[in-house]
Symmetry: C2
Subunit: 282 residues, 2 copies
């Protein structure tokens, strides 16, 4: 014991994000931990990335870069639709997407359809920066199955976002053709859908399949990219499917307080790296 005297506790959270590749974050410790009906839920306090929500051992959101993901999944479709009033988020229990959606004055109602109520509870309690707008009167939280929700709310939404976990566990159905057909039916005639579709470094086949499947349902389907330092592969994709508006040519310049998104970056994010073009088509 003597030789360790005076040293600090070094606790490392290590996520093996791909076979043989891990992100390690030094942590002060666990703020919260529980087994929910659906998953293992933890909130950790890290030195470098701030607070992080960890589901089944995978970082879902951290203070370091959550703004990139949430701004890019939200503002791209909401600045394309001419007047988004009703928006649905499937997943997204941390509240980051809701926070960004409510920056748009046109939005009258933002509905969160999260299957695991414990994620919402933990976010409200332990992730105040991300969940800060979940109690807004324009936000409705529905704890339940997003798949069922889109299939029982026809022609209701201007924009639907799939802010899902990876395609494992409870999130897997949210990458299926059946879900996308439900999304199509739940959107109004000029509606827009965006899904997070993982990194081309590790989910090449998934990205290709989602793109192909959506092209069979929607007239306009385009992939866009961003960078997520805490996610496996860092190069991250979103796939946008639209009934009417082209996401590159129909961009409105909206006055938004952001840390990542700009109108120019919106357009630029549809210019794909060759390796992504090769997966989804140019």
């Amino acid at each position: 014991m003597t030789i360790l005297g005076g040293m600090e506790l070094h606790l490392w959270f290590i996520e093996e994000q791909a076979p043989g590749m891990a992100l390690a974050l030094k942590a002060m410790g666990t703020i919260h931990r529980e087994k929910t009906e659906y998953q293992d839920l933890a909130v950790i306090e890290t030195i470098d990335a701030g607070r992080a929500l960890v589901l089944d051992g995978c970082i879902m959101t951290s203070d370091m870069d959550e703004f990139i993901y949430h701004e890019m999944i939200v503002h791209v479709p909401l600045c394309v639709h001419p007047s988004p009033e009703k928006v649905l988020v499937v997943g997204g229990g941390d509240g980051g997407s809701i926070r960004e959606i409510l920056k748009h004055d046109s939005v009258k109602q933002a509905v969160l359809s999260e299957i695991d109520g414990k994620v919402v509870e933990a976010a409200k309690k332990y992730l105040p920066n991300t969940s800060c707008r979940l109690d807004d009167p324009r936000c409705s939280i529905m704890i339940g199955d997003g798949f069922r929700h889109v299939n029982t709310h026809p022609a209701e939404y201007d924009v639907i976002l799939c802010d899902s976990t990876d395609p494992v566990g409870p999130g897997i159905v949210l990458f299926s053709e059946e879900f996308y057909k439900g999304v199509y039916s739940s959107l109004k005639d000029d509606g827009i859908f965006v899904a997070q579709t993982e990194s081309p470094f590790y989910y090449r086949d998934l990205l290709s399949k989602v793109s192909q499947t959506l092209k069979g349902i929607f007239p306009i389907v385009k992939t866009y990219v961003t960078v997520m330092p805490t996610y496996p592969g860092a190069l991250w994709t979103f796939t946008l499917a639209s009934k009417k508006y082209d996401p590159v040519t129909c961009v409105r310049r909206v006055d938004l307080k952001t840390k990542y998104y700009t109108t120019e970056l919106h357009k630029a994010s549809f210019a794909l790296p060759k390796m992504v073009e090769d997966i989804v088509g140019a």
Copy 2:
């Protein structure tokens, strides 16, 4: 010993890229290791990222993503200059930048000014995918000080690239005003300079200072971004300084075999995230 019977050797290379944040790569082992005059040099064979060159404990290049860095540092300036014939790389001993430069038919001579000859030797021997064009007759390798080189070769180059290590150790002088003045003098009247300028997540002040310093020397200075999964922060910047050609409006469409670069991505990479605009100016 019995309880470990049958298990494989698990060797993890762990690079603490920022205080409290590390990238970990499972490795088959060390291919090569030496102390050179300038640094600790290692080549490791990883499971997920292929072969990696590690200098002073930091990954410089890996098979996984070296093509992104090298394509983006090279093809942006070489597709802006109307006819780049003579190109200088300061640093870049792994040979990746030379490989990309020699894809341009206009180039008559690519000069590599690398201070550590052992890096070039190790790359030739152990990193064949990256170093494959170092023996090309159009490539001249000068082992020596890049700072001295630019100050003794006036008005000689069409394009100069600073493919340096981080601003520590031997690389620190390559981020100085004196070096940039030497670069300016070593470029022809319509020359272009590009430097790798780290991640805005961890080198905010450096990025700001380099941009400001170059704006005091060159008439046109613009920052562009890419994603480097194995580098700290993943969101990576390059700063381009040009005597005559605007890097966004003067892009030539060159027929290149690439994995990342496209003409559209070239233009898009100058659309900066708000957090980068805030550092370097819009």
